[in-house]
């Protein structure tokens, strides 16, 4: 519940690394920054100069970069877009193209700024309203004469959604547990091979030494993989020999005779 409680105060930053100077300054993304800059032009939002605004924004971002501040990607995307918009506004529009004209792009941006401002004003007006429980009140003594009582089951949609998501979240956890397969480690495979092969210098299929694992489908892959890796290591150390008649044919293994001789010597 602490997450929800925090959200009442402020949206919680997702990642420390994303906390940037521009965010620290209290901006909630490029549009918010643009709106603040537009207001600094101190004119009616319908009369802002989008070109001047684009320049202000680019200067702001440039300044932040000179201070070697990390700037979130969406601010940079907006900067690139505004630089493009600027060029479209300054240069006469070329032949009519597929994409909207500079003027149309500017109008679109101005519209979004005005709409965001309108929603902020609306939020403020809502907050300022007389509200239930603070300016006006419900009946303090709702009447409930007891007798013949019927029961009504209370449940909100929120409760239903909350239960279902909590339930599913629990399952994701167990889902992850299932994925944690048993793995035969390299060391385990190596010890096993050495132990089972012992002094046997006859060629035996590698699988012979793995029968116990191969019986279990979920262990087959890991047992083969680690046995192969371990045997390669043992070959390198001069303790085993491996052979195979062709691609994908069974792999044969035996104790290396040289080492046997060496041991006997």
């Amino acid at each position: 519940m602490s997450v929800a409680a925090d959200a009442f105060e402020e949206d919680t930053p997702v990642d420390e690394a994303e906390v940037l100077l521009v965010d620290v300054d209290g901006f909630e993304g490029p549009l918010d920054l643009l709106l603040a800059l537009a207001r600094s032009q101190k004119v009616d939002l319908t009369k802002i100069s989008v070109l001047a605004l684009a320049e202000q924004y680019l200067v702001f971002i440039d300044h932040a970069r000179k201070l070697h501040l990390q700037i979130a990607a969406d601010y940079l995307v907006m900067a690139a877009w505004l630089a493009y918009l600027k060029s479209r506004l300054l240069l006469p529009d070329p032949e009519p193209m597929e994409e909207p004209s500079g003027e149309e792009m500017a109008a679109r941006l101005a519209f979004r700024l005005k709409r965001l401002q309108a929603m902020r004003d609306a939020a403020e007006k809502l907050s300022d309203r007389d509200k239930l429980g603070s300016s006006f009140f419900e009946r303090g003594m709702p009447e409930a004469i007891a007798s013949d009582r019927t029961m009504r089951w209370g449940a909100e949609l929120y409760d239903l959604l909350q239960s279902y998501s909590a339930l599913r979240a629990r399952q994701f956890a167990s889902f992850v547990k299932v994925k944690k397969r048993k793995v035969i480690g390299l060391q385990e495979a190596r010890d096993r091979l050495m132990r089972l092969i012992g002094d046997d210098a006859t060629w035996m299929p590698m699988d012979t030494y793995l029968t116990e694992f191969l019986a279990k489908p979920e262990l087959r892959a890991t047992a083969r993989a680690s046995a192969l890796s371990a045997s390669l290591e043992l070959v390198r150390e001069g303790k085993l020999e491996l052979t195979q008649s062709s691609n994908f044919a069974p792999l044969y293994v035996r104790r290396r005779s040289a080492s046997l001789e060496a041991k006997r010597a």
Partner: protein, 217 residues
């Protein structure tokens, strides 16, 4: 519309506006209070020198013929339903009871996975569902047996009712948020493994291919 307060004053020393305001103040306080209020309590909130008892009697007279009366209870005052209309409140004494967590979860599973058998519910919840839980849900009227699964034992399948949609303000079962929606709304914190979306919620109407009607047995 004639005004309740337009005339009949017996407090002549005050301007009509003041008198009107004082009556409104008393009305509001008596309405919002969680218990009957004494004259002293009321007077403490009124401008000095207001004769509360005179005003209260005036209000009492005004409300005497109404659906709600101002009643004197000991030395306190409270609004009460007119006694001849008590029969109307039969349903308001309804006691609202919260569903248990187990019942809420079972309801959610039935809503999202319908048609679903009891064994399937238990599999999703990971615990066996007590008989009482399903009974409670059937009692709410939000859940109903839909049919029988065409599988060994022909178990009953459960689904939701129109009352369920009504209660939760949904136009159709398909309007229940899916897992991605729940996650987007911040309700689901877990990572959703790929391919683990919510099962498609089927309409509560009609039987599925693997279901038989209830009266078929």
């Amino acid at each position: 519309m004639p005004d309740l307060f337009a005339s009949g004053s017996n407090v002549t020393s005050l301007s009509p506006e003041d008198r009107r305001l004082h009556l409104r103040m008393l009305e509001a306080m008596l309405f919002a209070s969680a218990k009957p209020m004494s004259e002293a309590e009321l007077a403490a909130k009124m401008p000095e020198g207001v004769t509360v008892d005179v005003l209260l009697h005036e209000l009492q007279t005004a409300y005497a013929s109404r659906g709600v009366n101002l009643r004197r209870i000991g030395d306190c005052w409270a609004f009460r339903t007119a006694s001849d209309l008590g029969f109307l409140l039969q349903e308001h004494k309804v006691e609202e009871r919260k569903l248990s967590r187990a019942a809420m979860e079972t309801l959610a599973i039935i809503a999202y996975h319908q048609p679903v058998t009891r064994a399937e519910i238990e599999e999703v919840r990971g615990v066996s569902t007590s008989k009482g839980t399903l009974d409670v849900l059937l009692e709410t009227g939000w859940v109903r047996p839909r049919g029988r699964r065409r599988s060994p034992g022909r178990p009953l399948t459960f689904g939701t009712t129109n009352e369920f949609l009504d209660h939760f303000g949904l136009a159709a079962i398909g309007d229940l948020p899916g897992l991605l929606d729940l996650k987007a709304a911040g309700l689901l914190n877990a990572n959703i493994p790929p391919g683990f979306e919510a099962p498609p919620a089927f309409g509560s109407e009609g039987l599925r291919d693997d279901e038989d009607p209830l009266d078929g047995d």
